[in-house]
Symmetry: C2
Subunit: 168 residues, 2 copies
């Protein structure tokens, strides 16, 4: 799918079909994270691909805002080596994954890091690496709308030449 | 252009043709930022579209790492209302813009914020809003490679089931 069409239609998905995601698509999702640009090419990131059902269930129980991870066929745990730009860099990689997945019909959602220590110990993540997000992925359980989004008025956030002059 | 192909080929562009960017494409670039998802739908962002040559020149002189902004036909100054998730949210919106632009043949690069106070005063940005990045946009001055990227080995950053088990 075209990039703009993907950005326009992508929605957070929290309920997934059991249908597995083809290996080729999984590969493409994590490759899009790996290939993302970062400040000074620092690449301060790690992506842990989880398909094991027991691990997915444990991740779901460790994430108060993401119990639906337990039902997803796939999750990517995103971790970072802290640096002044790491949050930006890793967020860009996450956006690349969300868009690449959606363009293949696969939905996801950004689940914030919680119960950090247990998650790290579950996945063998070293002490100096931080968990930033868990992204469950899967085919949406129900048909979603056409991407209608609840956003602030365009003219409130997009300015022309100077702050406060609406772009359109 | 397809999302994965865009992520795979996008490169930082620092030299631009004088050729203006069509209004429709500019609109699409900022719309992709506006439509990006954010934590709790907070949308803590502002995007200032700059095409005025004098302003572009001033931005170029205020950004030690981005003097080439002065030659770009367009820059989007990205600002945020600080919040715990603002850096992540805004970084995602920037990634949406970079990918949307590239899929239309338009290159860009993330220029870090510097000389913050002068930039804010130049653009009339309120005291409680922070400048995060300046993104110059334009058609690349020279033909770029096929997106060959200098990245850490895939197996070093992509893990299977547990940290340290290479994905492939």
């Amino acid at each position: 799918m075209d990039v703009f069409e993907t950005v326009r239609t992508v929605l957070a998905v929290r309920a997934f079909q059991a249908k597995p995601i083809p290996v080729k698509v999984i590969h493409r999702i994590v490759e899009s994270a790996w290939l993302t640009g970062s400040s000074r090419n620092g690449q301060p990131w790690h992506f842990i691909v989880v398909e094991n059902r027991a691990t997915l269930k444990q991740l779901g129980s460790l994430a108060p805002t993401g119990p639906y991870i337990a039902q997803a066929p796939l999750a990517v745990v995103v971790a970072m080596e802290p640096s002044p730009y790491a949050v930006s860099d890793v967020s860009r990689a996450i956006q690349s994954m969300i868009l690449t997945a959606w363009s293949e019909g696969v939905g996801s959602n950004w689940v914030g890091y919680q119960n950090l220590e247990q998650t790290k110990s579950l996945l063998g993540i070293p002490a100096d690496v931080e968990v930033m997000a868990i992204l469950p992925f899967g085919y949406p359980a129900k048909k979603l709308g056409k991407g209608r989004k609840n956003r602030k008025p365009f003219a409130q956030v997009v300015h022309r030449e100077r702050f406060g002059q609406p772009f359109e």
